[in-house]
């Protein structure tokens, strides 16, 4: 009889802990190699943890709801009696990532991760860069091109601190404390009804993560929301044409790619909308890249997939990527990386209902743009009423950085583009 521990593997992508959502096995169950044994929730993605060994489950060492650091023993497995063939049973599906893709990347079964490495091509320090090997590696690991960091040390040496401060500047905003000290808030006791009629469900997984994020943001960020109505008749016409062209490419072109393009052009005009506040450093971080998040309602809850470098993509490419990301979000297959690094978020709650909303910013972003239902309305123009396509928009901003008038100008500049899609041609790169 040989009892071995199964540890929570290193899930990669900087994740250090996960929350145990549910056990997929019970004591006495027999497990095969690579059989999922638990669901672990990390930073908005729920992943399945496979067992690296075969045998019989002897003991479960963590409880549902526990927050488990990586490399912590999760369960004990008796490997005696597990047939050799079961132990060697190969799992050959790394090409088709399943919901537990990030976990498959972990140490015991690294095969899946192999496929994902092909895109990493970090920069090599040029011969002129003065930095120690460990500093050069640190820069790579933070995805920073060390060749572009002006060194603060003697003879232009790039120090570890230079790299770290550049890293903060590049949008990897620390989770630090807000610049204003918050009073400790005492959460009042919830008293259940004495007569029953209630059901208690543990706050777990993505729901808990959403709860924490929203509570933190509302506490840290002073929100304000501006609302206005845009006449999008032209956009409606343009999109109708483009939709047919897109269809010939097999791509469903929605309004979202247009909204993204208009938003990016407007953000270029108003850089404070493409920024973050680094509370720890008391610095404003201006971003030179354009990653656009969009809220997706999924069976698991609210997820925000991110279109990376959206400024460098065509409307057709954006449309395609949005479709792909939405499908992944719906199927719970989004990788952590696909939900990270957004500069601003678009929420189209309006497609479900409501005329206006006051969304919560996706911290550390400083604004969120709300998009609402398109309706036919009479609009009084040139002395008479005309039928028009009208859409409501909101911009919710972080008042620490963005003042009301600036937000109003931002919305106007955005409308200039969204009401007249030809304007987007001028912004095209």
């Amino acid at each position: 009889m040989s009892i071995e521990n199964v540890n929570l593997p290193d899930i990669g992508e900087g994740v250090t802990e996960g929350e145990m959502v549910s056990w997929l096995v019970a004591v006495g169950d027999s497990v095969e190699v690579d059989q999922p044994v638990a669901e672990i929730m990390t930073d908005k993605a729920t992943v399945e943890v496979p067992s690296p060994i075969a045998g019989t489950v002897k003991e479960l060492l963590v409880s549902e709801g526990d927050v488990v650091p990586i490399e912590t023993a999760m369960l004990k497995v008796d490997t005696a009696g597990a047939s050799a063939s079961a132990a060697a049973a190969p799992k050959t599906a790394p090409a088709e990532p399943v919901a537990n893709e990030p976990v498959a990347a972990a140490a015991p079964t690294p095969a899946a991760n192999v496929a994902s490495t092909s895109t990493i091509q970090p920069p090599v320090a040029s011969s002129k860069v003065l930095a120690t090997p460990s500093t050069r590696r640190l820069a790579r690991e933070l995805n920073i091109d060390i060749n572009n960091i002006p060194g603060s040390g003697l003879a232009g040496r790039v120090t570890r601190d230079d790299v770290l401060s550049k890293s903060n500047g590049a949008g990897a905003v620390s989770a630090g404390t807000p610049m204003m000290k918050m009073p400790e808030i005492k959460v009042p006791q919830f008293n259940g009804s004495a007569t029953g009629g209630e059901e208690r469900v543990p706050l777990r997984g993505i729901r808990r993560k959403i709860a924490q994020q929203m509570q933190m943001t509302k506490q840290v960020v002073p929100h304000f929301t501006l609302m206005d109505e845009a006449n999008v008749t032209e956009l409606y016409k343009t999109r109708k044409k483009v939709k047919e062209i897109g269809a010939s490419y097999g791509v469903k072109v929605t309004y979202l790619p247009f909204i993204m393009k208009a938003l990016i052009a407007t953000m270029r005009e108003f850089p404070m909308f493409n920024a973050s506040i680094d509370d720890n450093a008391e610095e404003i971080v201006y971003k030179k890249y354009f990653n656009i998040g969009f809220a997706a309602d999924t069976p698991q809850g609210l997820l925000v997939p991110v279109v990376k470098n959206a400024d460098q993509k065509t409307i057709l490419q954006l449309a395609q990527e949005i479709t792909e990301l939405s499908n992944k979000a719906r199927d719970g297959k989004l990788a952590l990386d696909e939900m990270k690094g957004a500069c601003i978020t678009i929420t189209n709650i309006g497609s479900v209902g409501g005329t206006y909303a006051t969304p919560i910013i996706n911290h550390p972003e400083v604004a969120i743009v709300g998009v609402y239902k398109m309706v036919d309305k009479p609009v009084f123009m040139d002395g008479k009423f005309k039928a028009a396509k009208v859409m409501n928009y909101t911009v919710t901003a972080d008042h620490r950085l963005i003042d009301g008038a600036v937000a109003a100008n931002f919305l106007n500049a955005f409308f200039k583009r969204i009401e007249n899609p030809s304007h987007l041609l001028l912004d095209m790169i």
């Binding site: 050959t92 015991p108 690294p110 192999v114 490495t117 990493i120 003065l130 120690t132 090997p133 790579r140």
Partner: protein
């Protein structure tokens, strides 16, 4: 399907076995295939055995020529070449066994046999036991290089030897002709001369170690070769040889004229070429460069997404330690770590007498990189107490720095233990050190290492144990640039 692996390494030299160990450490199911002995050329017929022979020859030479000067008279010195070769072999076997233990201890599967790609994901491995198939998600090609031949000279390791045959000789040849004055030729020439062979080198160019070593360094070695009785013929192109009784006549062209050299052993050391014409690499479409090296990106990936290449087969410099560095790198890349080949320097060592070692750039390379103003100085081992007390006063440490910033760009050492001294220089260059960093680091006395500190001081213009021009300023200890 037992032969399915996450990572399969082909070739167990200093690149391959390191890649396999790191892969296994990172949790990959790893296999490593070797057609000859674990450790590859380096451990079995290259670096390690040649160092054993060089050490023995150096020892013999010292006993014969230097010990008497120290008052030690040894009579009846006798060389048992058979026993020497046995000892050398025991060194190799011990190291190779060590590699085997490390691989097994890390749970990498060792497969003996010759691997050929059937397709991009499957190898067929032929051994005495038959043929088996091995499949893997990722392959790491680390199959190294082999000696180049020239027309008229086919390596049979008997009449014409590569380094492999030379190291295996159980009888010391009386007269050896070495074709090629590169580092392998010079290392073997020096030890054979010390053991008692008459050695003649035929070099096609007009200098030894062309392009690989600092010219001033080479001069010191050339002088010592002459002292050892090694004759060097430049501009000499070996054309053919014929057997005359037990010995050979080598015909070479020297400035248009034919010259004949006699020898009873011929060594061919004109360079090495990558083994990229093997394993069916052409069949699966691996791209090579014009020199036959596999083309790789800074993460050692070939044009095929699941195949990586490291070491000699992946490009110059063909050095074991570069291969090992790449071995670690590639395994970590496969594990999704953010890695890239980003070394500033691959130090090089040549075990001539005295040894030559270098890190960083040659003077000419500094100029090519746009460093127009350089500070260059040498510090001689003759001014170092330890070197003199070892009766090894030949040679120097030469440093090259950027004049504006004093940042160290290149270090070239010729002298005792140059091979062991160069690591400090490599570290200094990787760290972006300035001359002051070396000069201000206290180096223990009495050691050869002091020459590094002194050379840095000399390059700054004020070495202690060497007469240099007077200091310009009394107050701050010299003309130190503060940038």
């Amino acid at each position: 399907m037992a032969n399915k692996y996450d990572v399969c390494v082909i070739g167990a030299g200093p690149g391959g076995y390191v890649a396999a160990i790191r892969s296994a450490q990172l949790g990959f199911k790893t296999a490593i295939i070797e057609r000859e002995a674990l450790g590859g050329v380096c451990l079995n017929v290259g670096c390690i055995p040649s160092k054993a022979m060089i050490t023995a020859a150096h020892f013999l030479h010292k006993a014969q020529h230097e010990a008497p000067k120290m008052g030690i008279n040894i009579s009846g010195i006798d060389l048992d070449m058979g026993k020497l070769v046995d000892w050398k072999q025991s060194v190799c076997d011990r190291m190779s066994k060590g590699v085997e233990q490390l691989l097994k201890g890390n749970k990498a599967t060792i497969i003996s046999g010759e691997a050929t790609f059937k397709n991009q994901t499957t190898l067929s491995v032929k051994s005495s036991k038959g043929t088996e198939e091995v499949t893997a998600d990722k392959f790491i090609i680390a199959t190294g290089s082999r000696p180049i031949e020239i027309p008229g000279f086919k390596i049979d390791e008997n009449e014409v030897c590569s380094s492999t045959g030379a190291l295996a000789m159980t009888e010391l040849p009386k007269k050896v002709v070495v074709i090629g004055g590169g580092y392998i030729g010079l290392e073997i020439s020096s030890y054979l001369a010390k053991l008692g062979s008459e050695v003649e080198i035929l070099e096609a160019s007009d200098a030894l170690l062309t392009g690989v070593a600092d010219k001033d360094c080479v001069q010191v070695v050339a002088r010592k070769l002459k002292k050892l009785g090694v004759k060097v013929n430049f501009n000499t192109f070996a054309k053919k040889y014929v057997k005359k009784g037990k010995s050979f006549e080598i015909t070479a062209e020297v400035k248009g004229k034919e010259t004949v050299f006699a020898a009873d052993k011929i060594l061919l050391t004109v360079g090495r070429k990558p083994n990229s014409d093997q394993m069916g690499l052409d069949k699966i479409g691996i791209e090579l460069d014009q020199h036959g090296f596999i083309k790789v990106d800074p993460q050692m990936k070939t044009n095929l997404a699941n195949i990586y290449a490291i070491g000699d087969i992946a490009g110059q410099p063909m050095l074991a330690h570069k291969a090992s560095h790449e071995g670690v790198l590639v395994a970590e890349v496969l594990a999704g770590q953010n890695r890239v080949y980003d070394a500033k320097t691959v130090p090089a060592v040549i075990f001539t007498d005295p040894e030559i070692a270098s890190a960083g750039m040659l003077e000419s390379e500094c100029k090519e990189q746009g460093y127009t103003d350089l500070k260059i100085a040498k510090f001689p081992f003759a001014a170092n107490g330890r070197a003199v007390s070892m009766m090894e006063p030949d040679g120097f440490v030469k440093m090259i720095a950027d004049k504006k910033t004093n940042v160290l760009l290149g270090v070239h050492i010729v002298g005792p233990e140059a091979s062991n001294l160069i690591s400090e220089a490599a570290l200094a260059i990787e760290m972006g050190a300035r001359l002051e960093d070396l000069a201000l680091t206290i180096h223990p006395h009495p050691t050869l290492g002091e020459t590094m500190m002194e050379a840095a001081e000399a390059t700054l213009g004020h070495a202690i144990h060497m007469i240099q021009k007077p200091l310009k300023s009394k107050s701050n200890g010299g003309p130190t640039a503060h940038v």
